[in-house]
Each structure stands twice: as C-alpha cells, then as structure tokens.
Symmetry: C2
Subunit: 192 residues, 2 copies
DNA sequence: ACTGTAGCGGAGGTACCCCTCCGGTTCAAT
DNA sequence: ATTGAACCGGAGGGGTACCTCCGCTACAGT
C-alpha cells in the first residue's frame, strides 16, 4: 500500500570519485554534459563540456574515457529520476497517474532526445534503462487498461514512442504541444 | 473536377545551370546532399557531399555558396513534390485522402527532419514552403472536418506536427510505427 | 605537519572541416 | 575547327575537435 509498490533500482553504479575535489569535478562535468547535450545534440563538443564545467579536458577523459561513457551516465541518471517518479504516482487514479507520469516523461525527454538517439539500441546500459523504465511505468498503463480507461490493443512501448516523438518535435508554443499531445492521448482512450 | 483543384506553385526558381556538364553536377550534388542530410543530419560535411557527388569541393561552393543555400534547395524540392501529391488526392474520400497524404508526408519527412530542423523559422524560403504546404494539404483536413470525419478543434499545423513528431521517432519496426500513428489518428477522429 | 598518491590542467600531435583561389578543361556558339 | 567564356578540381590556409601524455597540485591518512 505504502512506499514503493514496485522495485526501483539504481541502474548504473556510477563511478563517482571519493576525493572531495574529484567528486566536485565529476558532478560539474555531468551537469555541463546534460546542458550541452540538450543544447547541441549528440555531438556536442567534449572540450566545450570541459570548459563549461570549469575543468581541464584531461579531467573529463579521466572520468569518462569515452563519449559513450558520458552519454550513458547522463542518461541513466535521468531514467533513475523517472523511475522514482513512477513509484510516487502509484496511489492516484489510473488514468490520471498515467498521464501525470507521461507528463514527467515528456519533460525529461524533450531536451534529452540527443542522448537517447546516440545510445539507441547499441548499448548494454540502454537495455537496462529501458527495462527499468518499463518496470516502473508499465504498470501505470496496465492499470488504466484494466479499468477500461485505456485501449487494450497497445503496449507500453507504443505509448512511450508516441509521447517521445510528439514531445521531441518543435512546436510554436507549449499550448500547441499540449493540444497535440491531448489529441493523441484521446486516441489511447478511443479504441475501447 | 479534373487537373489541380488548387494551385501548385514551384517555390524556388532553382538556379540550375545551362551547360550540360554543369547541370549534371548540379543534380548530382542535390542527390548527394539529400542522402547525406538524411544520413548524418543537419551538419553533414560539405566535403563529403562533394565527394559523394563525384565533384570537386569548388563546384559545390559555386552552385551553393552557403550551406543554407543547399538546405533550402533540397527542402524546397521535397515540398514541391508533396504539394503535387496533395493535388492528385483531391478526388478521394475525405478521410482517406487525408490519411493517404499524411502517409506521403511521413515518408518524405522521416529522413528529412534534419533539413527542417536547420531551417526552422530562420529562413524566408522556409516560410514560403510552409505556406505552400498548408495551401496544398490544409484543404484535405478541412474537408474531413466538414464531413465530420475529423474533429474540429484542431488545425492543420497541429496535425502536421503530430505526424512529423511520431514518424521522426525510432521504432522497433514499421508495424509499430503504423500502429502508433493509427492510434494518434484515432484521436483526430475522436473529439466529435 | 608530513608525505605519497590520486587527481589536475592543458600543450600539442593528428585529423577533419570550412572556404578561397586559380591554372587547366570542356562546352557551345560561331 | 576555332575560340573564349563558363566551369572544373583540388591544393592550401585557418580553424576546431579529439585524445594522449606528463609535470604539477592538493587531498587524506598517519
């Protein structure tokens, strides 16, 4: 009833350094990377990221030997947050819980599509994140389907792609994005 | 009843050269650019494009002094094709005509999002293309709305963004993409 | 306070890309 | 066939990004 109804695992055992200065640099790098990827997409300059973090390029490479390492860490971080959010929504109305979570999902994904794009399908961590996310959010859809609030002829993957695709698009303003999202979600209720 | 029910304008007076060899190079460059943009996104290497076209880099720059020139020409080309398609669908059933056109739209746009992205909002030609596209496709939606096949509380812009967003996403396979698109389109019928 | 070591920054080699410029080539009009 | 204008390719200068390497710094454990 209370607490977390389904397990929320931390996906990556992040290699955060022990020493104080090192840990500070590590965090600064992650923040800078998040920002840079959101702004410039998957091929943001690593040197620029180091610059933003106020850190030498060597430090970046020591913490994340590969561009992919950086991607994975940033991405896994986001997914962890999302999984926690799903747990907190478990006691709301089925349809409301689902849409509220999708809202969060959209918020995190708008700026993160670059990261997902770069990792899609080719990474072990990505696979783990995916499973984690499905485990966390999937029940929200199933519950809505059981109560008849959502059509039964679709799965959680369909839903996520739909929302991800729509939210990743450039709209005139947030009102239009929400309008379009609402229309598409009407399709999710419509089937039955 | 016959021919084109609404005007289909050629948007850019393309500066295709007169001389035979020059014209051949021009075409090769456009093809290579289309391909490269689809593959590598907006910042594909111009030198690579010239290489693909089997042409010196100088020739590329003579024909398209600016990366934007190349973008605009490629993009305008696509839009022209799409406008012609709309004209040809005018005598089908309203809903069927609309979805058939959106199908074409999706096909052209999946690989072209890079071009749209790079041009979005900042280009005069883009504005013209947009208008052309709306003039060509908009009536298909309005017709469907008049007959009650589509909900009235949305406009053509909403619909295009929705379809563009969904089709630009990576799916497991085409079946999933079509399934998700169908669900969203159910939302377009649902409102009323 | 001392000290060994984990961690730091950034110079610099390599690679690629952008774009200009010009000697040579090819077309088409006579 | 001739010829001059239009067009060609690619060398090369300038810039930026990637990534390695190493002399120096500052932390943490005693």
């Amino acid at each position: 009833m209370t607490a977390t109804p389904f397990p929320v695992s931390e996906i990556v055992a992040t290699r955060r350094p022990h020493r104080k200065d090192a840990a500070r640099n590590y965090d600064a790098l992650l923040d800078a990377a998040r920002e840079a990827f959101a702004e410039h997409g998957a091929e943001a300059s690593l040197e620029d990221i180091a610059r933003r973090a106020g850190v030498g390029i060597g430090t970046l490479y020591r913490n994340f030997p590969t561009r992919r390492d950086l991607f994975e860490t940033v991405y896994a971080d986001e997914v962890n947050t999302l999984c926690r959010a799903a747990a907190e929504l478990a006691d709301r109305e089925p349809w409301e819980a689902l849409t509220a979570w999708l809202d969060r999902f959209a918020g995190y994904m708008v700026t993160k599509r670059a990261v997902r794009e770069a990792l899609d399908g080719e990474s072990g961590i990505f696979q783990a994140c995916r499973e984690s996310m499905y485990a966390a959010g999937g029940p929200l859809l199933e519950r809505a389907q059981r109560t008849g609030a959502a059509r039964a002829d679709m799965d959680f993957g369909d839903l996520l792609r739909m929302v991800a695709g729509i939210t990743a698009t450039v709209f005139d303003d947030d009102a239009q994005r929400n309008r379009v999202l609402a229309i598409a979600l009407d399709g999710v209720r419509a089937g039955r």
